[in-house]
Each structure stands twice: as structure tokens, then as C-alpha cells.
């Protein structure tokens, strides 16, 4: 019984520790976000982007949406540029086009 309680506590502890970690994240002024439409076709393409783009200089966050074919990158403007990030995606063998979500809303 004691080990069971201990095991459950450990899991909860990890949950709380990491949640406070995530909440504590501050928005940096230098950080900017860019979204690309990328010619991904399957789960493997998504994985490849997730395995490589985080290690590009200046990248601070990454979201890959396979059904919507979008790759959203948060980056530090003093360390990299959208062109460099686009080139990094192209280097992996995919075609990338800058995406402007606001315009899309007007269309609908």
C-alpha cells in the first residue's frame, strides 16, 4: 500500500512540477512567430521536421499541424530570420510558403 501511494504521489509531483514550469514561461519581446504551408504528406514528414527544426539556431518553439499542413515556428529575431528558417525546411526536402492566417479569415 505504501509503495502504491508513493508511486501515485510521484506521478502527481511530476505533473505539478512540470505544470508550474510551463506556466512560468515568460513571453520574450524579441520572440517572433512565423507560419509556413509545407508540402508534408505523412507522419514521417512531420517527425523529420520535429527532429530537425528545434536544433536550428534561434528556434524557441515549434508546432507542426499535419492536417492543416502548417509549421509554426517561434524564434528569436536577433538570432535568425524567416528566410533562414524557410531554407532549413527546404533543406529537409519540403516546399515551404509563408502563410498569413489573417487574410484567410477574410476569405471565409
Amino acid at each position: 500500500m505504501r509503495t502504491r501511494i508513493f508511486a501515485l504521489l510521484a506521478i502527481l509531483l511530476v505533473a505539478f512540477a512540470t505544470s508550474s514550469l510551463a506556466d512560468g514561461k515568460k513571453k520574450d519581446k524579441k520572440k517572433e512567430t512565423v507560419t509556413y504551408i509545407v508540402s508534408m504528406t505523412c507522419e514521417n514528414c512531420k517527425q523529420r521536421i520535429e527532429e530537425n527544426i528545434p536544433f536550428e539556431k534561434g528556434v524557441t518553439d515549434l508546432k507542426v499541424d499535419l492536417p492543416a499542413k502548417t509549421v509554426t515556428i517561434e524564434y528569436r529575431a536577433d538570432k535568425t530570420t524567416p528566410d533562414k528558417l524557410k531554407a532549413a525546411i527546404q533543406k529537409l526536402g519540403y516546399t515551404a510558403m509563408p502563410f498569413h492566417p489573417k487574410k484567410k479569415e477574410d476569405k471565409n
Binding site: A10, V14, A15, C42, N44, T60, K69, G93
Partner: protein
Amino acid sequence: MMKRIVNALAVSLLAVVGLQAADNHEKVKGYVLDKEGSPLPGAYVYWTDKSSRCVTDTEGYFEIVRSLKADSLCFDYVGFQSRRMKVDKPGEVQVVVLESSAALQEVVVTSRTIGTLKNRKSVFGTESISAGELTRAACCNLSESFETNPSVDVAYSDAVTGAKQIQLLGLAGTYVQMLTENFPNQRGAAALYGLDYIPGPWMQSIQVSKGAASVKNGFESVTGQINVEYKKPKIADPLFVNLFASDAGRYEGNAVGAVELNERLSTALFLNYYNEEQSHDKNGDSFLDMPKMQSFSVMNRWHYQTPRFVSQSGVKVLTDKRTSGQTMHTLPDGYAYEPYTIGLRVNRVELFSKNGFILNPDRNESVAVIVSGSYHDQASNYATDAYNVYESNVYGSLLYESEFGRQHKLCAGMNFNWDKYAQRGNIVARYMPGVHNVTENTTGAYVEYTWTPMEPLTVLAGLRADYSSLYDWFVTPRLHVKYDIAEWFHLRASVGKGYRSTFVLPDNSYLLAGSRTWHVADELTQESAWNYGVNASFYIPLGDEELTLSADWYYTDFQNQIVVDLDSDAHAVSFYNLQGRSTSSVFQVEASYPLFRGFTLLAAYRWMDVKCDYNGRRLRKPLQSRYKALATASYETPLKKWQFDLTAQFNGGGRMPMPDVANPLWAKDFGAYTVLNAQITRRFRHWSIYAGGENLTDFKQKNPVVGADNPYGPDFDATMVWGPTMGRKFYIGVRFNIPKV
């Protein structure tokens, strides 16, 4: 806005009612780009049946009404090569890249989807374990790959030999059909140690289906099917290396190399070596806690593909050597007998070839031929007793598949299976004289029909008839139904029959690790059982994320079973045909929720009621927990550079086989216990490092070897195992890969 809401309501209402007309209102959306990623405005987009067409806007964006008949879109743009593309996932955004006319390179026409891991749509209740999931724990081999899976248990069969058994639905692993690359493998003698024969880093994914499975692969699955997919030469990284070491003295190395020789031909080479040569006897019972092991395996596979033909072939060779029991070092001073050692030596060769011909791509009409074979040479000794088995298997399958419109799909085929067991050693002469060689041929044919009368309903019915050289004719019916009551609520039900031929010695050789006398009935018949299952899955949007809930219940009812009776006599094991009833009823609930980005919690609880008539007494299955619960917490930092995993397994208590009444050597029951595992992974672009601990609470079954002080006496029994025999263990490993360019 109002219109949009009304539209959305109408669409969802139609979906609920299940009118196919709902399809008509759906639009396929996407972008047309050039190779550099610039939009191509004014490009023509139309269906192959010309039912509708449109032109892209300034951003290359298009929306086109779905066609009823055609599933391929055509794209035209001046100065660029026209392109035809099959729309496999109409719900997703399509991104089409056109090549300029000047470039004469061939364009890949269809976008292939390999390794789709979402099984929501499947009519079978299949759970998938991806390569990513396998990196969450040590996962040196298949037997360790189910630690984070709530449905499958892996338990040591005994305290000495290292044989492990999978359990699905509370029943022995022999009732699960094991497949590699979708053909039966690891049967008979290979089943006991075979889980160790598939190294973790070789695997692409594992699929676990509970309950009646498809009839395509034969009649054998009673409780379910487990399929292992190895890494594919065409998509694998050119080089992958994994090194692993644990404080228990296990050293392991894996390498997978893949080469694409040309557009059609690719090959991959897989290597594995492990060594666990340290001798541990932490509980001081003079028996090693784990066998000393050394194993080497190599596999080479080839992939050949043209637009109409796909062929995959491979060969795998394995050698495995284990020594366990007592050694000169573990024996206390002054003992006058030879150490009781158990030795096992296995050599195994597997061959396979799978060939598919696409006859008509428009209706997915294809013919496939699968041929596989294996030779398994296993020599074992239990002190002075010897048991050797030489097992040969040949399997062939012919399969035809075609779609008739959107609603009907037919699959038909034939299978052939040949098993031969040649058994040697004094054990055979003692317990099963005259059964040195056993051969069985089974030939069968099947049809499987899938009917999708409307989008949310799928009915799959399969029927097969087989002729066995030992058991004559038998029929295997199976039926699956899936109904999506709503987008967030899916229901599945299945019923089916399964059969199995039992070969007593190869299936149960681990029971030789003890002094129990074997009694094998003369006329053992074929095992057969019905399996019934229902499953409800809910996908509930909660906050920004989705809460996944599922509940399932499976009931297995044996018509005949070869009962393994450890209860009637504490100094014997009997094998006989079931007289009375044998059933398994398993209820499982599971919930998983991404609490916040990167953090996923999973909790599962499984309640098992497995009962069998042992010599007229209905008892629970011995050495099995009454419940199992699992809780896992996993956190990945936003860029996935760090990953933290924690897994807790809660195992309920259970019943021990009946101890001797006059001189009880073990208790009647065993208590509940908890096992806790944790791992941290740090990823870099081309490599990652991971470190973790298993069984962190250091829980061990006390005295797993009964009568250890006199292994040559009548009370010796190493098979009364219900919990971990090894304590806390720490490990560290690295993975290194050269990615594809």
C-alpha cells in the same frame, strides 16, 4: 457567421444520421506551389471525372467540392508539368508542388502514407505502439515494449530460465497470434524465448488487436493478435546505432543501416548483440536471479517497388545462449552435489518473401503472395535431463483484394502451414514416449467482406475453412461491427472463433525447471474458443485538448482447452482435455489527457476473471493478478529536446497453485505489488541519450525458487513465480542516427 454555424450544425446532424449525402458538401482545400514555395495563382484544379473545377487565388489557394466518383485531382499551370494526385485524406489541407516543364524529372504520382498510426478508423480495436513510444522506456526487445501499454502483460514464466510470456485478456501468450510484418512467426518452441528475439531498435511499430482478429492470417488468434513491423529500407535512416548498458551487467549494441540502391531497389541490414554475463544471486538462494545470456542476431531485408509491383524479402539468423541455475560460486561451502544448472542454446533462421501485384489501382485490386519459413534448433538441459527440439515451419498465403464501389470490399485467399517438431532427449522418452516427431499440415481458404453502407457504419465478416492433417475439417467464422454514433463516440463489437494445436513439450518446456512429474493425457484434441468483445471509445474535447476515454469488455469461452493443471498435485503437472468450463472475462477502462502542451497523463484499470475447471474444481487461474492498473506521466519540452517519463504498474494479488496439504511449501495467495519505472531522454539533432531506472521501489518476490536448498529433491520448483525476481535496475543508453538527405 450565422450561416457557418447553421452549416456546421447541418453537416454534423447529417453525419449523425449517417447520410452519405454529407460527403457532397465537403470541400477539398489546398495550395498549389512551385518548387521554391511560391504560390501559383490561376492554376486549374479539377477532378479526373471533370465533375467540378476551380482556379487558385493569389496565394495559390483552392477549394473544390468533393467528387462522388473520382478520388484524384488534376493540376494544370502554364509552364509547369501537369500533375495528377490521389486525395487519400480529403479532410486534410492538400499541398501540391508542381515542377517546371524544363525539369524532366519524373514526378511521384501518388503520395504514399506509410506508418499511419491513428487507428480510430479501423474496424478492429487496434492499439499501436510507435517507434516514438518505444523510446519512452529501455525497450531492449519486444518483451520490454509493453511496459507503457495497458492491455498486454509480460511475465517471467519461472525464476530461472528467463522465459517470458505475453498475456492478453488474462490468458497465456500461446493464445495470441504473433505476427511479424503481417505473417505468423515465433510459434511453438520459439514463443517462450521469442520475445527476446526481436530487438527494440529494429522495430518501426507494434500493433495489438484484442479479441477476434481478421481471418486473413489464419485461425489461430483466440485472444488477439500482435504484429511487429520492422524498419523499412525505403524510409529508414541510412544509419542508426544504439548502445545500452545497465548496472545488472547487460551490454547491448544495435545497428540498422539502410541503402536506397536506386529508385526501385532498397535494402537494410540489422544487427544486434547483447551480453549479460554477470552472475547475481542477491537473495542468496544459491540460484542466479537471472540467466547469463549472450545473443547475436542479424537480419537483411530487401524492398523492390515499381508502380504495379512491390516485393519485400528478408532473412534473419539468430543465436542465443543462456545458462542459469546454480554455479560453483553461488553454492554455499560444503555442498556435496553438482550445481543444478539449466542450459539453453538456440539457433534460428527465418526467411520471408512478400509480393504484391496491383491489378487495378482505381479499385485497389491486388494479388499478394507471401511465403515464409523458419528452422528453430533448441537444445536445453535441466541438470542431467535433456530436452531438444528441432522445429521447422513453412507458411504460404495467397491473397486477392478488391473494392467494388465505395461500399464493398472483398478479400479472399488461401493459406498453407506446415509444422514439424522433432524432439529428442530423455525428457521425451520419460513423459511422452512415442511422440518424438510430430507433423501437422493445415490448408485453408477464406473470404472476408467489408461493407460500408454509410460513412459511420462498417461491417466486416470473415469465414474460413481449414483442413488439418491431425484434426480434420473445421470452420472459423468472425464478425466485426463499428458504428460511429458521433464524431466523438465510436462503438465496436466483435465475435469470432479461434483454434490452436497444442504441442505440449515445446509450449511448456519452462515447467521442466522443477521436480514436478508430468502427466500428459493420450488423446489431446485441438483447442477451440469463442471470443466476444465490445468496445466504446470517446474523444471528448476538453479545454484546448482532447480527453480520450475507452472501455472494453472481452469474454473468451473455451470449447476445448489443453488444461495445464498445477493444482491437483503439488508435485506434478497434468495436461488434459478440458472437462467442464474455462472462461476469461476481462474489463478494461482507460483515460488519457494532455493536461497541458507536451504533458500527457494516462490511467488504465483492468479487471480480470479467468476461471477453469481443474479436475472438477472451478478455480481462478493461478499466479495471475486479479487486477492491473497503470498510470503513466510523460512530459516533453516544447521543442522536444527533453523528455521525462514515469510509469507505475499496480498489480493486484492472486492465487497460488494449491500447496501440498501435509507439507505446504508456499502460501495460498500472493499480495498486491507496485512497480515504478522512470526515464529521462535528452535529444540532439543526430543523437540522443537516455537514462532510467526500472523497478525503482525495489520490489522482489521472496524465495521464488521453492526447495532451492535441494534442487535434486522432490520439492524443488522454480515455476511458482508471480512477481519480479530482479530488484532495482539502472540503465543508460545512446541513440545515434545519420538522417536521410
